[in-house]
Amino acid sequence: MSKPEDLLPLTPPVFHILVALSDEERHGYGIMQDVARQTDNALQLGPGTLYGCLKRMLAAGMVEESEVRPDPVIDDERRRYYRMTPLGQRVVRAEAQRLANAVTAAKTRRLFDRPKAGVTGGA
């Protein structure tokens, strides 16, 4: 098992995918929709980008396939669900911390406008 710090910094798609998986297991389309929601439709993951990232994340052990099928009604054989591993959890925390530090550094140099209320809905 690699240390979470070795995997930083994450690319934006990887980070957003991990955030999407942090609260529940999702299938590909669910991840795509959640990422779009997180970023106010700024980041629309295409199939190639999404599964390219998932491939690398599976290889690094950040996510794993899940056997649980939460929604049997709309279920389809081809839909696979993905779940975050404990390593993925630690990686996304570390990345969030890194980003927070970067934001704080920017704030102390007054690079920020006052955040407007309700601009983006977080995950």
Binding site: G28, Y29, M32, P47, G48, K55, D76, R78, R79, R80
Partner: protein
């Protein structure tokens, strides 16, 4: 429902596009990617507007292009020495066994697929073309490099005519076609007569089906009247080709050219300096390649250099790229234009 047909077509297309990815990747995620793509399509159909579709198409194409290369490079990078040897062996074996036995699709087949897709796009849909002569001057100039849309005039009856906006060649259209005297060359001219039209000229003025026309797109550089050139088809000129003479013999009745079925009568916009249907006869409809979409680069260079790239021309382009490029012509669209009835 037309929308569901469109959706199915898109999914089919995507299925084909998936073959551009490396085999392992496709085996692992292909089904899911297809599913995701279909879900995205459905999402777009829920708020169908032209721009939504365009945005979706661009996003998908960009995603496909970038990740296809990324995955291919990754697949190459992940190879170990052992696997490299295996692959090489496989390549040799595949090449060796082409046409002999049914091998599993390997490394070569994968790359061939990518190549085929690119070749399909560049040979069937669009083609790059450079204008070497000034016969269409004022509309297209010497040195205009343009993209030609090969689909729009593709033969009626092919599958494309049901899927794509298809419109037959009309008067006033600018078309690219194989020069009938030498089919290796591509010419660009304006369509003046379509089958059934009666055409003659009186002192540089076009008379079509008994009506006089003013053609706003033409350019006249020589005020003198040439008996043949400007009063076509009177007084056959010595410099018509055998094909041209054939046309004058077969298709002229009572001083008018009658365009026969399956042929087009074309002329250059630079009327006094254009070798066109008046001199070498009619263009068979099948010879039409397509219509110019836009000029992507216009470079001021002599005719000979544009037809055959030489080392000198290459040096000229590299040293004078910025000064000799006609920037104001970039992305210009050579448009079809109708002649106006003269009063």
């Amino acid at each position: 429902m037309p929308q569901s047909i469109l959706l199915r077509c898109f999914c089919r297309l995507y299925l084909v596009m998936l073959y551009a990815y490396p085999r392992e990747f496709r085996m692992q995620f292909g089904g899911e990617m297809q599913q995701l793509f279909r879900d995205r399509c459905r999402q777009v159909t829920r708020t169908p507007s032209f721009w939504n579709w365009v945005r979706f198409a661009i996003q998908s194409a960009a995603d496909w292009m970038s990740t296809m290369f990324q995955e291919r490079m990754a697949a190459v990078r992940e190879l170990t020495v052992q696997e490299c040897a295996n692959k090489t062996f496989q390549v040799v074996r595949t090449v060796w066994s082409v046409g002999r036995s049914t091998q599993p699709r390997g490394f070569v087949a994968e790359w061939a697929m990518t190549l085929i897709i690119f070749l399909f796009a560049t040979t069937t849909l669009v083609q790059a073309y450079v204008v070497p002569t000034g016969s269409m001057e004022s509309t297209v100039m010497i040195g205009d490099h343009m993209l030609v849309d090969r689909m729009s005039y593709s033969n009626p009856g092919s599958w494309g005519s049901h899927l794509l906006p298809y419109r037959d060649v009309q008067r006033g259209d600018i078309v690219c076609f194989h020069y009938p005297e030498d089919v290796r060359q591509i010419y660009v001219k304006r369509v003046i007569g379509i089958p059934g039209d009666r055409i003659h000229m009186e002192n540089k003025q076009l008379v079509r089906n008994g009506q006089r026309f003013i053609e706003p797109y033409t350019q006249h550089i020589d005020p003198t009247i040439d008996p043949y050139r400007d009063n076509f088809p009177q007084a056959p000129s010595w410099n018509t080709t055998p094909r041209g003479r054939e046309m004058l013999a077969d298709d002229v009745r009572d001083g008018e050219l009658i365009v026969p079925p399956g042929k087009l009568f074309v002329m250059g916009d630079n009327r006094e300096n254009s070798e066109d249907s008046r001199y070498w006869g009619l263009v068979p409809r099948d010879y039409v390649v397509g219509k110019p979409v836009f000029i992507y680069w216009s470079y001021d260079a002599p005719t000979a250099d544009l037809a055959n790239w030489s080392v000198d021309h290459l040096i000229d382009v590299t040293t004078h790229f910025f000064t000799k490029t006609r920037w104001n012509r970039t992305f210009r669209v050579p448009r079809a234009q109708q002649a106006e009835l003269a009063r």
